[in-house]
């Protein structure tokens, strides 16, 4: 089903089990944050891992998703699913324009164009009145799901976040293992050859880019509702740096890698918070270790050791 290998199916069931048992062991709000970032990292991995496009501006789609969801939930009183969907569509809309411009170049030029456009978004967010500048949009209410189911309790919100994450995760998996995904991988391996086989590679890359941005926006919107805030942190390029780190630590081009990476990085940020400046130092050390010692990431190395596809 859905193109899972046997090992992936077992991994998926294990992941679902962890998501169900998780809130009994760990703090639910922390897990919600992990799930939001896991979806964001999976969306990023869709581009870098399967199409080989290194975007440097994913924080823009994530952050604008945050802002739009927060703003519509707070000022228009939209229900939760509509607000999150609007966040996703904002990401997709931005991605459609930025991607259309950026995919005309490849490699470092592609990365720089996406970074430049994302910085423009950041400056717009500093200046635009609706974002609240450096104070951000604060005290966003959690609107009821479908206008009926209250999300005030953390556990109700948790199941919504878990549902959104699993849907996004399965969608990405389906995309990657569809004929469309096969073409994406062909482009990653050898783009001129894919062109010579008759594929319009630019169109494929553009669609993959928009899909990735859409899911980033969804992840951002969900996070805005979890915490009830949307701030400049979400659109800043350092946010993008974190998601790169998550995908890298977990394992690029693996299905479960970004999820593991999100758990590791958020766990560090959360549980090392009392050690002050050591958070950033530890993050740096882990990044160096990852690049030097295990380049395939945690899940990537595990898969290689077990000779499995994870």
């Amino acid at each position: 089903m859905l193109g899972f290998t046997r090992a992936q199916a077992i991994g998926f069931v294990a992941m679902v089990a962890v998501i169900i048992i998780g809130p009994a062991v760990l703090y639910p709000v922390f897990l919600m944050k992990v799930l939001c970032f896991a979806l964001f990292a999976c969306a990023f991995n869709l581009l870098i891992g399967y199409v080989g496009l290194l975007s440097f501006g994913h924080a823009a789609y994530f952050g604008m998703g945050c802002y739009v969801t927060a703003w519509t939930a707070k000022n228009l009183g939209l229900s939760a699913e509509l607000a999150i969907l609007l966040g996703g569509l904002t990401g997709a809309g931005l991605g459609a324009v930025f991607g259309w411009l950026a995919i005309r170049r490849s490699g470092i030029y592609f990365a720089m164009i996406t970074l430049a456009l994302a910085q423009m978004v950041y400056f717009v967010c500093i200046q635009a009145p609706f974002t609240g500048g450096e104070d951000g949009i604060q005290q966003v209410p959690r609107p009821p799901l479908f206008g009926a189911i209250s999300l005030q309790s953390d556990m109700a919100m948790y199941w919504l976040v878990a549902g959104v994450f699993l849907l996004g995760f399965l969608l990405i998996h389906r995309i990657v293992h569809s004929p469309f995904g096969q073409v994406l991988k062909a482009i990653r391996e050898n783009e001129p050859r894919a062109t010579s086989l008759g594929y319009r590679t630019d169109d494929y890359k553009w669609v993959a880019f928009v899909l990735s941005c859409f899911l980033s926006g969804i992840a951002g919107g969900t996070k805005a509702l979890v915490f009830g805030i949307a701030t400049l942190t979400d659109v800043h390029w350092t946010m993008h740096g974190e998601v790169v780190l998550m995908a890298l630590v977990g394992g690029l081009g693996t299905v479960f890698g970004p999820v593991a990476g999100a758990l590791i990085l958020n766990g560090m940020e959360n549980y090392l918070a009392q050690f002050g400046s050591w958070v950033t130092v530890t993050q740096g050390v882990i990044f160096v270790l990852c690049v030097v010692a295990f380049r395939r990431g945690v899940i990537g190395e595990l898969a290689a050791a077990l000779r499995l596809k994870l």
Binding site: D135, K223, T231, N270, Q274, T280
Partner: protein, 405 residues
């Protein structure tokens, strides 16, 4: 001697059992200090703020009454979501009763929202935004040391009275800078001064301020106002020194630690507002000496003083109310704190208004020349004092729903 596996397990279990910590018999109160331990506010708040909270705990005398007080600290990394999730986890899982400090306006507002939701207590000392006691005020939050309105008011109005009656403003082009520009222009004009011009520079990432400084000098104004904060202000002051700008420079948000890192040679003559200076009187010096014993070679900023003073007032209120009652209802504790006059070494006698604004005098300081300074940390001379009841935004102009109701 060989040992059977069963015996080994039994021994292990027997030794493991008493290791579990016995439940604390004493009633416990938990104070969380949420601050910037790694970023730009580390010096002016950071570890010193945690120590200031510990000082307040020691001096409260609650330990002698059989109340156990724990001080927790965490780094919000200047990210609102990290701050909000630490606050949530502290309230939900760790049983924290009060959060102190929280420099950075975005994080501060997020923590205020969480605190209201959980009905706990939150006293901010490090954030600048006057929204904490304005449009976004709530019944669980108190704002202690300063805010943007007070800084602009003191620096703007008091500066005019001491002869600086024509201004030119260099403004960071974002909401915070605009607010400072609007407020200080207003106060300068009300005090009888004039603002000859203003220039906005792109924020962030402007590092070369030469053209803005030259425009300021060409305006012929007596005072150059810096409506900005953080590293931008440091750069502006350094570059103004290098250009030999002959105007009086008024910084709208500068801390003692900024002056310390700039050095007197560069920062001499700078005018700024703070609500606390360690060398103000015998009481503040006593606090500073105690602080220096914990943070050797350092002097407290107004944020450190605020954490100490607010922690002390909270603990005094807890002592009056009884621990169980104070822990049960954050809003009631805050109401009680507002009803009780404050008094401590740092800010002297004071009070807390209905909107959560702590009132204290605002001092206009000038940074000394190197020749006037007697040693390290001897940096300020007092120019003017704005009394507590005039220093902050009047309640009649407040957008706080607590006041309107």
């Amino acid at each position: 001697m060989p040992m059977s596996r069963r015996a080994l397990l039994a021994t292990a279990a027997a030794t493991a059992l008493p290791v579990r910590p016995a439940r604390a018999e004493k009633p416990t109160l938990k104070i969380g200090v949420l601050t910037d331990l790694s970023g730009p506010y580390k010096d002016l708040a950071g570890p010193g703020a945690v120590d200031a909270a510990r000082m307040a705990v020691e001096e409260s005398g609650l330990a002698a009454k059989g109340i156990n007080i724990e001080v927790l600290s965490a780094n919000h990394q200047n990210k609102a979501d990290v701050g909000a999730s630490v606050a949530r986890e502290w309230y939900d899982r760790d049983g924290v009763d009060i959060i102190l400090e929280v420099a950075n306006s975005g994080v501060a507002l997020a923590v205020a929202g969480v605190t209201k939701e959980k009905n706990k207590v939150y006293i901010n000392s490090g954030a600048a935004t006057s929204d904490l006691t304005g449009a976004q005020c709530n019944a669980n939050t108190i704002h202690w040391v300063y805010d943007t309105y007070m800084l602009a008011h003191s620096t703007g109005a008091a500066m005019v009275k001491t002869g600086g009656d024509s201004w030119f403003l260099i403004v960071a082009d974002y909401a915070f800078g605009h607010a400072l520009q609007r407020d200080s222009t207003d106060f300068v004009q009300k005090a009888g001064g004039t603002v000859l011009g203003a220039v906005r520079y792109p924020f962030p990432s402007t590092t070369d301020f030469s053209s803005f400084l030259v425009q300021g000098q060409a305006s012929g104004a007596k005072v150059l106002g810096l409506a900005s904060a953080g590293t931008d202000v440091i750069n502006l002051i350094k570059q103004a020194h290098e250009f030999g700008i002959k105007m009086r420079i008024a910084g709208l948000l500068i801390f003692l630690t900024d002056v310390h890192s700039l050095g007197l040679e560069v920062s001499q003559g700078l005018t700024l507002t703070e609500s606390f200076y360690w060398d103000l009187n015998a009481d503040t010096r006593r606090f500073a000496d105690k602080f220096a014993r914990r943070q050797p070679g350092r002097r407290p900023t107004m944020v450190h003083a605020g954490v100490y003073s607010s922690g002390l007032h909270y603990l005094k209120t807890v002592g009056d109310m009884g621990l169980a009652q104070a822990r049960a209802d954050g809003a009631a504790t805050v109401a009680r704190m507002k009803a009780t006059p404050t008094s401590d070494d740092c800010f002297g006698p004071g009070s807390i208004r209905a909107d959560g604004r702590k009132l204290c005098p605002a001092y206009l300081f000038e940074v000394k020349k190197p020749s006037e300074s007697k040693g390290p940390w001897d940096y300020y001379k007092l120019l003017a004092t704005t009394p507590a009841d005039e220093a902050f935004r009047p309640l009649s102009a407040s957008a706080c729903p607590l006041v309107k109701a």
